[in-house]
C-alpha cells in the first residue's frame, strides 16, 4: 500500500491511500497518522478512494488514528469509501462512529 500526504490549512493533512489496507499495511497507516499529528497536523483526512480492499485490521488502524488525532485536539475523518469498504463499516457497526464522507471538501467542513 502507498500513502501520500498533502497538507491543508494550518492544522490539516490529507493521507491518500492506494492499495489494500489490511493486516499487513495497517501499521503503515497508523504510523502515517502519528507522524502527521506529531507535525502539528492533527486534523487528518484519510482518503480511501484508491483502496481496493479493507479488513478489520485496517479499521483498527483508522480507530487508532482517530484516537491519536483527538488526543491532540484534532480529528480524523475518512472519504472515498467504495462499496467493499462501506460493507465492512456496516458489518462492524463502525459507521455508527465514523461517517464515510463523499469528498475531502465535505470531510473538512466545519474544521
Amino acid at each position: 500500500m502507498q500513502i501520500a500526504k498533502s497538507d491543508i490549512g494550518q492544522r490539516g493533512a490529507v493521507l491518500t491511500l492506494d492499495g489494500r489496507l489490511n493486516m499487513v499495511s495497517a501499521p503503515q497507516l497508523k504510523t502515517a497518522v502519528t507522524n502527521a499529528v506529531a507535525e502539528g497536523r492533527s486534523q487528518v483526512v484519510v482518503d480511501l478512494s484508491a483502496v481496493t480492499f479493507l479488513d478489520s485490521s485496517g479499521l483498527g488502524a483508522l480507530i487508532a488514528g482517530l484516537k491519536a488525532a483527538r488526543q491532540a485536539s484534532g480529528d480524523l475523518r475518512m472519504t472515498g469509501a467504495n462499496e467493499q469498504v462501506r460493507t465492512v463499516l456496516r458489518l462492524t457497526n463502525l459507521d455508527r462512529v465514523l461517517r464515510p464522507y463523499d469528498t475531502v471538501q465535505a470531510a473538512t467542513d466545519g474544521w
Binding site: M23, A26, S56, S57, A64, R70, R96
Partner: protein, 929 residues
C-alpha cells in the same frame, strides 16, 4: 479410503447408541424426578427436603445439558492440507514463569514446520527473558507505553497488545509450558479453508501427570466427548492455549466491541451532563447573564447531541461538535472568579473514572456519575466537569490502553468470553481432537485450587456479564452449550445438600424422602445404571472418575467462585485473582490441610454420622433399609471427598525425569510415599455397609414371627371385635384373636410373648392403619417396678369430625387378660391388677382419629396413634404401619408448632420419644389408596 469409511461407519453407530442411551437416561431421570417432586418429598422436613430435591433437580438439568452436548458429538478426521500462503504468528504468553521453561516452549515453537514467526509475549517485561528470546532469534513483545496506568487485563491484555505489534493472518496461542509438536500447524491450519472458521482448538494434555492423576489435571472427558459434542453444535470452546485463531475474526469482534463501548459510554456521559448542567444553571444566576447564557448553550448542545445520537448521527461527529460548544462557552467565561474555578478544577481531577483491573474496564462508575451530578458546580466548573466527562468517555476509550480489544476483557477467562463473541458474530469454531502440544499441570494442591478457582470465576463472570441465554446472534444450541458449562459450576450448592442429607438422617432421624423402599429403588436404580452405561460408552477408554470426584469434592471452591464472581460483577469487588503457577510452590512446608478444611470437616461429620447411624440402627432406632441406603450414600460422599485429602498429600510428579522439561524439574524432598487415605476410607465404608446389610438380613430372619408380618389389610378391627377379652386368653397363638391364619394383620394374642421392644422399661406402641381407615393399636408398657395398675386417657387430639374414642379395649397383665372397660371416651379409665405385673399389654381400636384429605384422594391424617398410659417409665417408641406411611409429626402442645419426627422403617414409620416429649401427641400422614 475404506478404513476411513468404516471408521465413519463406526462413529455413526456409536453416535446412534449414545443417542439411544441419552433418551433412556433422561426418561428414567425424568421419571425419578417427577416421582420425587410429586410424591416423595417429605415436606415436613423441608429444611433438608427442599435443598435435596433442588439439588436433585439441578443434577437432572445438568444431565439434560450433558445429554444435549453428546447428541451431536462430532468426530472430525484429519484436516485438509493448509492453504500455501497462510501466514502465522505463534504467541507464547508468559508472566512470571522461569525463563528456561518459556525458552523450551519457544524453541519448540520455532521448530514448528509451517512457516511462521515466533513471539514471546512477556507480561513480566524481564530483561533476561528478552535477552534469551533475542539470542535465539525469537520475537519479544512487552506492553507498549499505552498500557501505563491502564487496566492490564492479564493474559487478554497481553494478547491484545501483541495483536497490534504483529501482522500474521493466523495466530497460534501457547501457554508458556505448552510444548508444541512441529506438525501442529500442518495438522490444524487446513480447517481455515472454511472462510467462516475463526478458531481451531486442540486438546491440552499434561506430561507431568502420572496414571493416578491425583490432582485431576487431565480433562479427557472435556478434551474429547464434551468438546466434540460442542463442536457438533458449532460451539467448540476456546481454551486459551493450543489454539489457532483467524486474526480477521478477532479484529472484527474487537471493532464491534469498540463501537458498542463507545456508544454506551457517550450516551451515559451525555445523560449525566444534562443533570450536571441543570444544577449549574441555578448557580449561574448568581454570576450574571453571561454565565446563564453559557450554561444554557451547553444544555441545548447536550440535548441536541443526545437527539443526534438517537437519530443515528455517527458518534465521532456528535462528540466533536459537543466539544466545540464546550470550548466556545468556556472561552466566554474567562473573567470568572479564579478561586471558585480552582476549587472546581481540583474536584474535577478526582472524578472517579474507575477502571476495574480484573474485568471489564468499567467506563464510568455509576455511583461516581451520580456524585458528579449532585455536586454544586459554578458555571465554569460545570462546563469543565462536562468537558472532562465527555472527553473521558469520548470515542477514544481513554480508560483503556487500546480502543480496540479483540480478546474479551470482561472475564479473567478471556478465552470463553472471546469465543462467545465470535459465535455471536457468526463465526465458526473447530475442535481438532489430536494432542499436538504437551504442557505442565500444577503439581500441588494450592496451585491446582487457584487454577480451578480462576476458571470457575471467569466462567461465572461471563455468565453474569454476557449471559449466553440472551446474547444476540447465538443459536439455541450454542446458548445451551455455553450455559451448560456455566451451570456445571453451580454444583457446589448441590454438593452441600448431598452431604447434609445422610448426616441429617443419622443424627436427627429426619429423612428428606418419604420412603426409601421399593418405590424409591425401582425409580433410582435403573436411572443410575443407565447413566453409568452412558458414561461407559461416551468415555470409552477415558477416565471419568476423577472428574466426577472433583466436580463435587471442590464444592467450597465452586461456592467461593460463585460468591466472588457475583461480588465482582454486581458489586465491583476484586476477585482475588492469582496467576496459575506452572511450577510447584515449594514454600508450602507441610501437607496443606488448611486448604481443604471444609472437605475435612464434611468427611468428619459424615463418618461420625455413619457411626451414630450404625449405633442407633443396632439399638433398633432405624430400619435396615434406610440405614443401608444412607451408609452407601455416605460411602460415596467420602469416596468423592477423599480425593482432596490425597491431593493435599500429593508430592508432585514422580515419573520419569527425561519426560520433564528442565525448568519443571524441581528438587524433590525424599518423601515417604503417603498411603492414599480415601481408598482406605472407601473400603472401610463399603465393608461397614456390607456387614450391616448382612446383619440386617439375619436379624430379619431371626425376628420373623408369623404374626409379625405386617401388611396393609384391614383385619385389625375385626380382630378386636371378638370382644370378650377372655376369649383370647390362653388361646392358641396361631388362632389369633379372631382373624385366624388367613389374616396376617391380625393382632398378636394378648397372651403372646411381648415383642423385644417391650423388654426394657418404657412404652411400645404398634399402630396399624388399614386401607379402610381403621386404626388398631397394640401397646406394651413396662415399668421400672412391677405395675399394680394403669391409667388410660384419650390423646389430646384436636377436635375433628368425630369424637376420638377407644373401643374394644383389652388388657393383659403379664400375659394374663384382665377386666377392662370395653370403651374409653371421656373419662380416664383405671385398670387394676390382682398381682403386680412386669409388662402390660393393651389392645384397642382408635375411633375418630382418621381425617381424610379433601384435596388429595387417599391421603389421610391420623390425628393420634395411641392412648396415653400412666405410669410411664423409660422411653416411648411408636411404630405406625399401613398401606403407605408418608411421615409423622410430634406436637408438644399449643405453645409449639408440630414438628416432623421419627423416620421411616421397612413397613412404616418409627418415632422415639424421651423425657417430656413422651407426652407429645404423635400424628401420622398416610396414603390409604
Amino acid at each position: 479410503m475404506s478404513t476411513s469409511t468404516s471408521a465413519g461407519h463406526r462413529a455413526s453407530l456409536r453416535l446412534l447408541l449414545i443417542r439411544i442411551l441419552v433418551v433412556l437416561v433422561l426418561s428414567l431421570g425424568a421419571n425419578y424426578l417427577a416421582w420425587r417432586w410429586l410424591v416423595s418429598v417429605n415436606w415436613e422436613a423441608w429444611p433438608i427436603a427442599v435443598p435435596l430435591i433442588l439439588a436433585e433437580t439441578y443434577s437432572f438439568i445438568d444431565a439434560c445439558l450433558f445429554g444435549l452436548t453428546m447428541w451431536r458429538m462430532r468426530e472430525r478426521g484429519p484436516a485438509p492440507a493448509p492453504a500455501e500462503d497462510a501466514t502465522v504468528d505463534v504467541f507464547i504468553t508468559t508472566y512470571n514463569e522461569p525463563v528456561e521453561l518459556v525458552m523450551e516452549t519457544a524453541l519448540a515453537a520455532q521448530r514448528i514446520r509451517w512457516p511462521h514467526e515466533t513471539w514471546v509475549l512477556d507480561d513480566g517485561a524481564r530483561p533476561e527473558m528478552r535477552e534469551a528470546a533475542e539470542a535465539a532469534g525469537i520475537g519479544y513483545v512487552t506492553r507498549s507505553e499505552d498500557w501505563a496506568d491502564k487496566p492490564r487485563h492479564a493474559k487478554a491484555g497481553n494478547l491484545n497488545n501483541a495483536l497490534f505489534a504483529t501482522t500474521g493472518e493466523f495466530l497460534m496461542i501457547l501457554d508458556a509450558d505448552q510444548i508444541p509438536s512441529p506438525d501442529i500447524l500442518h495438522r490444524t491450519l487446513g480447517w481455515f479453508h472454511d472462510e467462516s472458521v475463526a478458531l481451531v482448538q486442540t486438546p491440552q494434555w499434561f506430561h507431568n501427570v502420572d496414571e493416578a492423576d491425583v490432582l485431576g489435571s487431565q480433562a479427557p472427558l472435556f478434551y474429547g466427548p464434551i468438546q466434540q459434542g460442542k463442536d457438533g453444535w458449532n460451539a467448540a470452546f476456546f481454551c486459551g492455549s493450543n489454539a489457532v485463531l483467524r486474526r480477521e475474526a478477532l479484529m472484527q469482534i474487537g471493532v464491534v466491541g469498540y463501537v458498542r463501548e463507545v456508544e454506551r459510554a457517550v450516551r451515559d456521559a451525555l445523560r449525566t451532563a444534562k443533570s450536571v448542567l441543570t444544577a449549574a444553571r441555578r448557580t449561574a444566576q448568581e454570576h450574571g447573564p453571561a454565565a446563564v447564557a453559557a450554561v444554557e448553550s451547553l444544555q441545548q448542545a447536550a440535548s441536541r447531541a443526545l437527539a443526534d445520537l438517537r437519530a443515528g448521527t455517527p458518534v465521532a461527529e456528535v462528540t466533536y461538535g459537543f466539544q466545540q460548544v464546550v470550548d466556545n462557552a468556556s472561552r466566554g467565561l474567562v473573567e470568572f472568579d479564579v478561586a471558585a474555578l480552582n476549587a472546581d478544577l481540583a474536584a474535577i481531577s478526582q472524578v472517579p473514572f474507575e477502571a476495574d483491573r480484573e474485568g471489564e474496564g468499567v467506563v464510568v462508575d455509576a455511583a461516581a456519575l451520580d456524585r458528579l451530578a449532585e455536586r454544586e458546580w459554578s458555571p465554569l466548573g460545570a462546563l469543565e466537569s462536562v468537558r472532562a466527562l465527555v472527553s473521558t468517555v469520548d470515542v477514544l476509550r481513554s480508560d483503556e490502553a487500546q480502543p480496540v480489544m479483540p480478546m474479551a476483557t470482561i472475564s479473567v477467562t478471556e478465552d470463553m468470553a472471546t469465543a462467545m463473541r465470535l459465535h455471536s458474530a457468526g463465526w465458526r469454531t473447530v475442535y481438532h481432537h489430536e494432542i499436538l502440544a504437551r504442557g505442565l499441570a500444577p503439581e500441588d494442591l494450592g496451585s491446582m485450587l487457584h487454577q480451578r478457582l480462576r476458571w470457575a470465576q471467569g466462567t461465572l463472570q461471563v455468565m453474569l456479564r454476557e449471559n449466553p441465554l440472551v446474547q444476540k446472534g447465538l443459536s439455541a444450541g450454542q446458548r445451551l452449550m455455553y450455559f451448560g458449562t456455566m451451570w456445571s459450576y453451580l454444583s457446589g450448592f448441590a454438593a452441600l445438600a448431598y452431604i447434609a442429607a445422610p448426616i441429617t438422617y443419622f443424627v436427627l432421624g429426619i429423612l428428606p424422602v418419604t420412603t426409601l423402599g421399593t418405590d424409591f429403588m425401582i425409580r433410582l436404580i435403573p436411572f443410575l445404571i443407565a447413566n453409568q452405561i452412558l458414561f461407559t460408552v461416551i468415555g470409552w477408554r477415558v477416565k471419568t472418575w476423577r472428574g466426577q470426584q472433583y466436580s463435587l469434592a471442590l464444592f467450597p471452591l465452586w461456592i467461593r467462585a460463585c460468591a466472588t464472581a457475583v461480588g465482582n460483577v454486581w458489586f465491583g469487588r476484586p476477585l482475588g485473582f492469582v496467576v496459575t503457577p506452572k511450577t510447584k510452590q515449594d514454600d508450602e512446608p507441610k501437607v496443606p490441610y488448611h486448604l481443604i478444611r471444609p472437605q475435612i470437616i464434611a468427611i468428619g461429620l459424615l463418618l461420625v454420622a455413619a457411626v451414630v447411624g450404625v449405633v442407633r440402627w443396632s439399638q433398633g432406632a432405624f430400619g435396615g433399609l434406610p440405614t443401608a441406603v444412607n451408609l452407601v450414600w455416605i460411602a460415596y460422599d467420602v469416596a468423592v471427598l477423599g480425593i482432596v485429602v490425597r491431593a493435599a498429600r500429593h508430592r508432585g510428579y514422580q515419573g520419569a525425569e527425561k519426560e520433564i522439561p528442565a525448568a519443571a524439574r524441581i528438587a524433590q524432598r525424599p518423601e515417604r510415599r503417603s498411603r492414599a487415605l480415601s481408598p482406605v476410607l472407601l473400603r472401610a465404608a463399603v465393608a461397614i455397609v456390607a456387614l450391616l446389610v448382612v446383619a440386617e438380613a439375619v436379624l430379619l430372619l431371626v425376628r420373623r414371627d408369623p404374626n409379625q408380618t405386617d401388611s396393609s389389610s384391614s383385619a385389625g378391627s375385626s380382630a378386636g371385635a371378638s370382644g370378650d377379652p377372655s376369649a383370647a386368653a390362653g388361646a392358641d397363638p396361631s388362632a389369633g384373636a379372631g382373624g385366624g391364619a388367613s389374616d396376617p394383620a391380625a393382632a398378636r394374642p394378648l397372651a403372646a410373648e411381648p415383642p423385644p421392644e417391650a423388654s426394657q422399661p418404657g412404652t411400645y406402641v404398634e399402630t396399624r392403619v388399614s386401607a379402610a381407615g381403621d386404626v388398631q393399636v397394640e401397646q406394651w408398657v413396662r415399668g421400672t417396678r412391677p405395675l399394680r395398675g394403669i391409667d388410660l386417657t384419650l390423646p389430646a387430639a384436636a377436635p375433628g369430625d368425630r369424637p376420638v374414642r377407644a373401643t374394644d379395649v383389652e388388657v393383659a397383665a403379664d400375659r394374663v387378660p384382665v377386666d377392662a372397660p370395653g370403651t374409653i371416651d371421656v373419662a380416664q379409665a383405671r385398670v387394676s391388677f390382682d398381682s403386680p405385673a412386669d409388662v402390660v399389654h393393651v389392645r384397642y381400636t382408635l375411633d375418630g382419629v382418621v381425617e381424610r384429605s379433601a384435596s388429595a384422594p387417599g391421603r389421610a391424617l391420623v390425628r393420634a396413634l395411641a392412648l396415653r398410659v400412666r405410669p410411664m417409665a423409660g422411653p416411648a417408641r411408636m411404630r405406625v404401619t399401613g398401606p403407605e406411611v408418608l411421615s409423622a409429626a410430634c406436637d408438644s402442645g399449643p405453645s409449639a408448632a408440630p414438628r416432623p419426627c421419627g423416620g421411616p422403617d421397612e413397613e412404616g414409620w418409627t418415632v422415639d420419644l424421651r423425657g417430656p416429649q413422651r407426652d407429645d401427641l404423635v400424628m401420622a400422614q398416610v396414603n390409604l389408596s
